[in-house]
Subunit: 184 residues, 2 copies
DNA sequence: CACCACATGTAACGCGTTACATGATTGT
DNA sequence: ACAATCATGTAACGCGTTACATGTGGTG
């Protein structure tokens, strides 16, 4: 269900073709929020058009079909945003799973992984902070526009990961018992 | 690929049957790291056993088959943990997507969603903090054992989300232009 | 005219979910 | 005896990925 609302939202920002939307996913949205390939986008656009949530506004060269969001599409998007996010049941986050399984490693290897985690998170914070400053300049807004909100979310998340990793390193360093012996 | 390592890791903690593992996912692991249903677990356990990464250690009543991790299984798990997490390409996070699409809402509705986000995150911080304290007591360790690391990760994450939401609320409150007009 | 980017489409496969299905053991 | 829980299995479906496939328009 998420894909269709991502598409409607992108078309609300500005109209575009399937090819264009695939690029927006690959270059911007996919790094923060949601990703999709053209093989999934084209059929979904046809369904959305059949349902009246988007409409064809131009047919250009090379079969290019430009879509735009309709009033019905905006209503549907708003309804989805306001309704409580359907509880998915369980989490499926490979990153967290790795952290959960860390105790399977020996103490030294666990520390290596944690230090890598911290370094990677700190690098992301720097990278996203740069991007945020550029967004502030580009939009002339302190919040960096709609994308700025999402970039800030990323900054907060990675900063939290880096802080957690530092805490975890202290815990493992202070625990000589950390890790397991092989079975059998 | 993640499921098999989650299973190996759980069996490393202690041996168990498919039914038992399904319960561990549903009651603990699924809330933090990874989830799986019995319909996916049973076939995967058979494959892991064929590959020698786990072994049958008991056959009990009601066809119960208890598996344990083998030395080969531990090696495979360690190799997977140490290798760099295969970059998935794009993110697919419905929560972040919703935040990204927030600008499609009017200013008031956006603020409502953000306040709900903040309240939900703050509640999670409280809930996980309680759990962490109980883990510290149960394990007699400041770090709360292996699960404690993951619970702390959750606390850090949700605290970051709550902080971000407070920042975002300030930004939207200070921006009378926030939101879009319907198209057409 | 060759090449690259544009532009769309289909097919096969993997992972995960829900629903359907079966039977054994324990407790009341 | 009945119900609840233990215990395992299969089938159909949805979403997403990779790979395969096809054709057009602009640029050097």
């Amino acid at each position: 269900m998420a894909l269709r609302y991502a598409l409607i939202g992108l078309l609300l920002d500005r109209p575009g073709s399937g090819y264009d939307l695939a690029r927006r996913f690959a270059e911007v949205v996919g790094a923060y929020a949601w990703d999709a390939k053209h093989s999934q986008i084209y059929p979904e656009l046809r369904r959305l058009e059949e349902e009246g949530l988007i409409e064809v506004v131009e047919r250009g060269a090379r079969r290019r079909t430009t879509y735009a969001c309709t009033a019905a599409g905006l209503s549907a998007l708003r309804a989805w945003l306001v309704e409580p996010p359907a509880s998915t049941g369980g989490v499926r986050n490979e990153h967290v799973l790795r952290l959960f399984l860390l105790a399977a490693l020996g103490r030294d290897e666990a520390l290596t992984v944690l230090r890598q985690t911290e370094a990677a998170a700190a690098a992301q914070v720097e990278h996203l902070t740069d991007q945020f400053v550029r967004l502030q300049e580009a939009t002339g807004s302190d919040a960096g526009g709609p994308l700025g909100l999402t970039v800030q979310y990323g900054i907060h998340s990675y900063r939290a990961t880096a802080q957690w990793a530092r805490w975890a390193i202290e815990q493992v360093e202070g625990d000589p018992e950390f890790g397991v012996r092989p079975p059998g």
